[in-house]
């Protein structure tokens, strides 16, 4: 079994972002970048399947500028076998990303494609579902637990009312939620070993895909700011304030 894990390089989740004053976007220069946290979960799940003897090869793929190679190397250090970088200076929307991934999936023929459920920059939550549609594969989004049984998989999903388990025929798309596993820390020997693993670089131009944006960004603003109210001294005072506003 071959598993393809698409990953995205995003602003590190611990960084407090700055919205540019001219409304043109979020400050990306000189900001710490990391692998999207949900993608760490998807990669961890793929590596666990390999360690359990259920998968033979784990391939990480990403689309972006040359620096994305660092994020792919981090994926190789976690335990992926090889990496593919589709180099692009343009920032792609999920629809275009899914089109590129579809072509890679058709070349690599993975049995399973595991993605993070959303990227923490754009919060779109679309790429996996779009890729599933384009490949006409089954999809199991927001995965909490994954169990492979031959040519199908049982996936328990985090849904609004609780948990739902579905069976999907392989090949299929899975998108991971945070609780599916705890991504491992990479050790120094593995980081060194990762430098020797294959990382293939492709150019987006070779894919012959229309990547022009379908959404025109009008502006990016700071959210409305909430300011601190008052500190009350006692529970009684709190209740009095809430009663005065007819909230309780």
């Amino acid at each position: 079994m071959k598993i393809l894990v698409p990953i995205k390089r995003v602003i590190d989740y611990k960084v407090k972002i700055n919205v540019k004053a001219d409304g043109s976007g979020v400050q990306l220069d000189n900001v710490k970048m990391s692998m999207n946290p949900f993608d760490e979960n998807s990669l961890e799940e793929a590596i666990k399947l390999k360690e359990a003897g259920k998968a033979d090869e784990v391939i990480v793929v990403s689309i972006g500028c040359a620096k994305v190679a660092e994020t792919l190397r981090a994926g190789l250090a976690m335990g992926a076998d090889r990496a593919i970088l589709v180099q692009s200076e343009e920032i792609l929307e999920p629809l275009a990303v899914a089109k590129i991934l579809k072509i890679i999936a058709e070349e690599e023929k993975p049995d399973l494609i595991i993605l993070g459920k959303q990227a923490i920059d754009d919060d779109n939550n679309q790429t996996g579902q779009m890729l599933a549609a384009m490949l006409n594969y089954a999809q199991a989004t927001f995965a909490y637990k994954l169990e492979l049984n031959g040519d199908s998989a049982n996936v328990t999903r985090e849904v609004d009312g609780g948990l739902q388990t579905i069976n999907i025929k392989l090949p299929a798309i899975i998108t991971t939620d945070l609780r599916i596993n705890k991504p491992r820390f990479t050790s120094l020997p593995n980081i060194i070993k990762a430098k020797k693993k294959p990382l293939e670089i492709k150019s987006i131009a070779d894919f012959n895909v229309d990547i022009s944006p379908r959404l025109k960004i009008l502006n990016t603003q700071e959210p409305p700011v909430r300011t601190a109210g008052i500190i009350v001294g006692t529970v009684a005072e709190l209740v009095e304030k809430l009663k005065a506003k007819s909230l309780v």
Partner: protein, 309 residues
């Protein structure tokens, strides 16, 4: 403009969230149809027909549609696609699962989780867990949109729209339902409750979480929420998580107990009308966004609060 809104339901009851998605559809303008995809779901269609501004309810019923799996529902929407310019749903787990599949099949870019309608093709949506707000204009001819329902109000229920039953779509067979563990709670739904009381890791155990929050929630008629830390620690079920990756809520009153106020959590509740924070750490970031803060040990403050209500 003709808009198709996918109804959110459990085959018995229409979710209040659909009435809020209809508010967004109404602001966009045009003829609005509601699609009820399910099994034995006539009761849901009847509830949808009552919602204001709905011109028609379309009811599609089959066993494949019972559990709202993405593949058959997306195929059903595609079978109706020629009649519509816009496809909308709540940004619920169903909407998030199904609509991007529809968007890809239509070759359009979905606009996820809109919080404001600027015009028929332009919308505001949060990015970076709500730390920035993006205004975008869709250049696609057909548009696929999910709606963050906490940012909209419910439309009224004085309508009597016609219900049209359509033939079930052909079987897809890529996926099948196995089972579900849905939380069984008499409490109001987290996304619809007027009061939400949430707990964090400070409770220390699932027993304490329930022992302290349940009576208070019962007294207030509140829904119970939890921080990601509390869910990760096993104090509460995943469907109670409030935050960027959980539920987004905007109740009249939000009471955060023992929650520090991580960006992740704040993203899910910062639109609440009044926020109360109870935390023994006076420096907790939650106090920076709370209307009323109480620096106290929650093991003492919560029982006292329950008694004084």
């Amino acid at each position: 403009m003709t808009i198709l809104v996918l109804a959110e339901h459990n085959n018995v009851e229409l979710s209040i969230e659909t009435a809020k998605a209809l508010d967004a559809a109404t602001q966009i303008g045009g003829e609005i149809h509601v699609l009820v995809a399910g099994f034995n779901a006539m009761a849901v269609a009847k509830q949808a027909a009552k919602l204001d501004n709905v011109a028609k309810v379309i009811l599609a019923q089959s066993q494949e549609l019972e559990h709202c799996l993405a593949e058959p529902v997306a195929a059903l929407i595609m079978s109706l696609a020629d009649n519509y310019n816009m496809f909308m749903s709540c940004a619920s787990s169903n909407g998030k699962n199904i609509m991007p599949r529809v968007a890809a099949l239509l070759d359009v870019m979905q606009i996820s989780e809109i919080i404001e309608v600027l015009s028929a093709d332009s919308f505001k949506r949060p990015i970076y867990a709500g730390n920035a707000i993006l205004s975008v204009q869709s250049l696609d001819e057909k548009k696929v949109i999910t709606v963050r329902t906490s940012s909209f109000s419910s439309v009224g229920t004085s309508n009597d729209a016609p219900i049209e039953e359509i033939a079930e779509p052909s079987e897809i067979g890529l996926s099948s339902f196995v089972n579900a563990q849905y939380s069984d709670s008499a409490r109001p739904d987290l996304t619809a409750a007027k009061i939400v009381i949430s707990g964090g890791r400070a409770f220390g155990s699932a027993e304490k979480f329930n022992e302290l929050l349940n009576p208070l929630a019962d007294r207030l008629g509140a829904a119970i929420g939890a921080s990601r830390a509390a869910v990760d620690a096993g104090y509460a079920n995943n469907d109670l998580q409030v935050g960027q990756t959980g539920k987004i809520v905007a109740p009249d009153l939000y009471i955060a107990c023992g929650i520090s106020g991580a960006i992740q959590h704040v993203a899910g509740m910062s639109s609440s009308k009044t926020i109360v924070a109870i935390n023994k750490d006076a420096d907790a970031p939650i106090f920076q966004i709370a209307d009323y803060g109480l620096v106290a040990d929650l093991f003492e403050a919560l029982p006292e609060l329950e008694k004084s209500l």
